[in-house]
């Protein structure tokens, strides 16, 4: 039983950590801020999910579960909302897009109806 629990902890922690690392790498490597936001919002969310579940399995008390659930719910709501806010204000600030971007319908619409 303890061996299973340890293996589960290790698997969860390692997957969470690797997604966190990939997310950080994505912020370095991807070409423009929108792509970096993709990496930041998705990888951090799943990475924290893995890490928190690993911590819960390892600690194994109800207190750990409730705190981890609270943190998880907060992260799943906050990470996408934060990236929406950032993408929105970056677009409003006229952020340069990657030169291979095909079309930008948001800029088209704002051109049609001048911003109030």
């Amino acid at each position: 039983m303890d061996a299973i629990r340890e293996i589960a902890t290790v698997v969860l922690l390692v997957s969470g950590l690797s997604f966190m690392l990939i997310g950080a790498w994505g912020t370095v490597r991807l070409p423009d801020a929108y792509h970096r936001l993709h990496a930041a919002s998705k990888c951090s969310t799943l990475g924290l999910l893995g890490l928190l579940l690993g911590a819960v399995v390892h600690i194994g008390t109800a207190a750990a579960l409730s705190k981890a659930l609270l943190t998880l719910v907060f992260t799943f709501v906050a990470a996408p909302v934060g990236s929406h806010m950032l993408a929105r204000s970056a677009h409003a600030a006229g952020l340069e897009q990657w030169d291979r971007t095909l079309s930008d319908e948001l800029a088209e619409d704002q051109g049609d109806h001048p911003e109030d």
Binding site: I22, L30, H38, V81, H84, S103, E105
Partner: protein
Amino acid sequence: MIRRLGFDMALAVLYLSWSGNHTWPGILVGLVLGFIVVSVYDLGTAHPNHGRRALRMLRFGVYFLTILIRSNLQIAREIMTPGFSQTPRILRYPVDDLDDFQTTVLANCITLTPGTLVVDVSDDGGWLYVHCMYALDRSEAIAGLSRLDERLRREVFSW
């Protein structure tokens, strides 16, 4: 639905704090008791079935987890292989008939699904602007978004 689930959780928390039974079975007993209370209340007021809706919500949760993992694997592959294969676009997607809360839920789900990120909402709340990483074909990207949208409407919003 969310209100009812929250009601269930609140009853469980009440049970926990009053019984002082802070163990795993204690939490489970609290949740089940709360569930029964809410179900009986629903029967008494002739609302649609609480249990079936909770089940559908659970199924959406599982589906959501799988697409979250898939989107992570996709972006991990993009980051770790040399060169870029993205064909990004910013698309508009209609959400006229959803209220503010539902739009928020849909936007969060879109952000966490493969290759899509919500950039902006139009001022009247009728359009979402979505940054798609793989949108060589515009209609295909829109179809991918509306698959998630349909599923969300059917399994979470429909009560």
